[in-house]
């Protein structure tokens, strides 16, 4: 009963509508990506950002424009009256809004455990923990192509590790970490491609737009659609950094081979091989990772060719479509 009343308050309406608005926004955005055959990751990301951002502001904006939106008579003209589903009786006195509420709680828990805690932990660990750094001249890894990239260059640190590793951190001073082992696995071209990719990450992570997007994403901590949409944006970030790296090195094949050597050691179907139930989670993660790497390699080898021209038109059309449809989802 308390939950039922809560859903009828303005904050309750906001929560319900932001979830349904995210869902319709996601469908509209994916429709646009297919209709215009948009493969460019940066354009895909700009459009998918709408799935995270628009539902945050849509409800207050609609109410400001039309305070009567959501009234009893206006619900008659709605495309989707969420009350019809939320108050559906499932039996034993349970209504659908109970399951909806549980979904929100579960989403919030996943957000805290899988996104917020790792980010806070990462922010507190500015350096690579547990690895011994070797004294080195990081500049030795800077090829002509990387030196030509404008702006500050990150520090390059070598770790005393046999496994082939490369990653970057963006604390007070951006640092790219290379393991001793990676230098034995990759050629100079491939190492340049890997460093260029990490350099792209350090550059993009410092951009205020991405930080702002994450802050807005936090506001929707309960929203399962935002959870998925934001993960797709993060996945897309790898593709964007691949494109940035290739624009500097002009050598997509070197990056494709690098990915293959570092991460894609198993065929995708074999990666999803579960022997015990306890392996399910790691099996799924391995499978998802293998699929993602395979997709990145495929993309680097088969350049889709579409540019960024005309994206503003598509962006505007998508915003208008989402805002118009969601106005009638109450």
């Amino acid at each position: 009963m308390i939950l039922s009343d809560l859903l009828l308050t303005l904050p309750g309406r906001y929560v319900v509508q932001s979830v349904s608005h995210s869902l319709t926004a996601a469908i509209v955005v994916e429709s646009a990506l297919r209709a215009w055959a948009i493969h460019r990751p940066i354009v895909q990301q700009r459009l998918r950002t709408l799935v995270v951002l628009l539902p945050i502001f849509a409800f207050p904006a609609y109410q400001l424009v039309d305070p009567d939106r959501g009234t009893m008579s206006s619900r008659l003209d709605a495309l989707l009256n969420t009350d019809a589903w939320l108050y559906l009786e499932l039996g034993w006195g349970v209504r659908l809004y109970t399951l909806f509420f549980l979904l929100l709680v579960l989403t919030a828990a996943v957000f805290v455990v899988q996104e917020l805690v790792p980010i806070v932990r990462h922010a507190r660990e500015s350096a690579a923990p547990g690895y011994r750094r070797l004294p080195t001249e990081g500049g030795a890894f800077m090829t002509d192509a990387l030196r030509a990239v404008p702006g500050d260059k990150p520090e390059i640190a070598i770790l005393d590790v046999d496994d082939p590793l490369i990653f970057s951190t963006t604390g007070s001073r951006a640092t790219i970490y290379l393991s001793r082992g990676i230098q034995e696995v990759l050629t100079r071209d491939q190492l340049e491609a890997a460093i260029a990719h990490e350099l792209a990450h350090t550059r993009r992570t410092r951009r205020p737009t991405l930080v702002l997007l994450f802050l807005f994403r936090i506001l929707m901590f309960f929203n399962p659609v935002t959870l998925i949409a934001f993960r797709r944006i993060v996945h897309g970030e790898e593709n964007i950094c691949d494109d940035v790296a290739v624009s500097w090195t002009h050598n997509p094949e070197a990056l494709a081979v690098t990915l293959q050597r570092l991460y894609h050691t198993r065929e995708v179907p074999e990666a999803f091989h579960i022997r015990r139930l306890s392996d399910l989670r790691s099996g799924l993660e391995d499978y998802s990772h293998a699929v993602h790497i395979a997709e990145r390699i495929r993309r680097l080898r088969h350049v889709d060719g579409d540019g960024e021209e005309g994206w503003i038109f598509v962006f505007v059309v998508v915003v208008v479509a989402i805002m118009s449809i969601n106005y009638y989802v109450v």
Partner: protein
């Protein structure tokens, strides 16, 4: 340019499908569990379909108003509410709106707009505490509104008329003293 036009047409098609799908999804629950707000042809239909125990209607009805109501909206989900609108006999102007609801969370678009409220007073209506507002509508005509509780229901009546006539009409909806 041609590519843009083709893509736009495909996108509009997708969007059209989404709109139709939303409308179908909207109608599905009502097909097997009626209860959310909808228009009814008559009060009797609303009462029998939704199983609402009592709908309060006035027994005193000014001759200037048209019976039956021109609009009946009713719901039992998320809470019970009934809204009736009445036109004037000689025009399409909405002159009377009666709302009964089990929750104060009901939000309803006002159909009789007050331009100015001249006086607000508490009135004993057959033993019920009621609040009466007297004022003027947009066009300068006298308008009045009364709100009171009957059992678990909030009843609100807005009328393009004097408060005196409104009180007679509201009183005719109730029998005897408060429950």
């Amino acid at each position: 340019m041609h590519r843009h036009a083709t893509s736009l047409a495909i996108f509009l098609l997708f969007t059209g499908v989404l709109i139709v799908a939303l409308k179908v999804i909207d109608r599905l629950p009502a097909a097997f569990q009626p209860g959310v707000v909808r228009r009814y042809a008559s009060l009797a239909e609303a009462q029998s379909t939704l199983g609402i125990p009592k709908i309060y209607v006035p027994t005193y009805f000014p001759k200037t108003l048209q019976w039956p109501p021109s609009l009946v909206l009713a719901q039992i989900k998320p809470f019970t509410a009934v809204v009736m609108e009445f036109h004037r006999v000689d025009s399409r102007v909405i002159a009377l709106v009666i709302t009964q609801t089990a929750s104060q969370r009901l939000r309803q678009r006002p159909k009789i707009h007050f331009k100015r409220i001249r006086q607000t007073s508490s009135v004993n209506l057959k033993g019920r505490e009621s609040v009466v507002e007297r004022g003027f509508c947009d066009d300068g005509e006298s308008c009045s509104q009364i709100t009171f509780m009957e059992g678990d229901l909030w009843i609100s009546i807005q009328m393009r008329s004097s408060a005196e006539e409104l009180l007679v009409l509201a009183g005719s909806m109730l029998s005897g003293r408060a429950q």
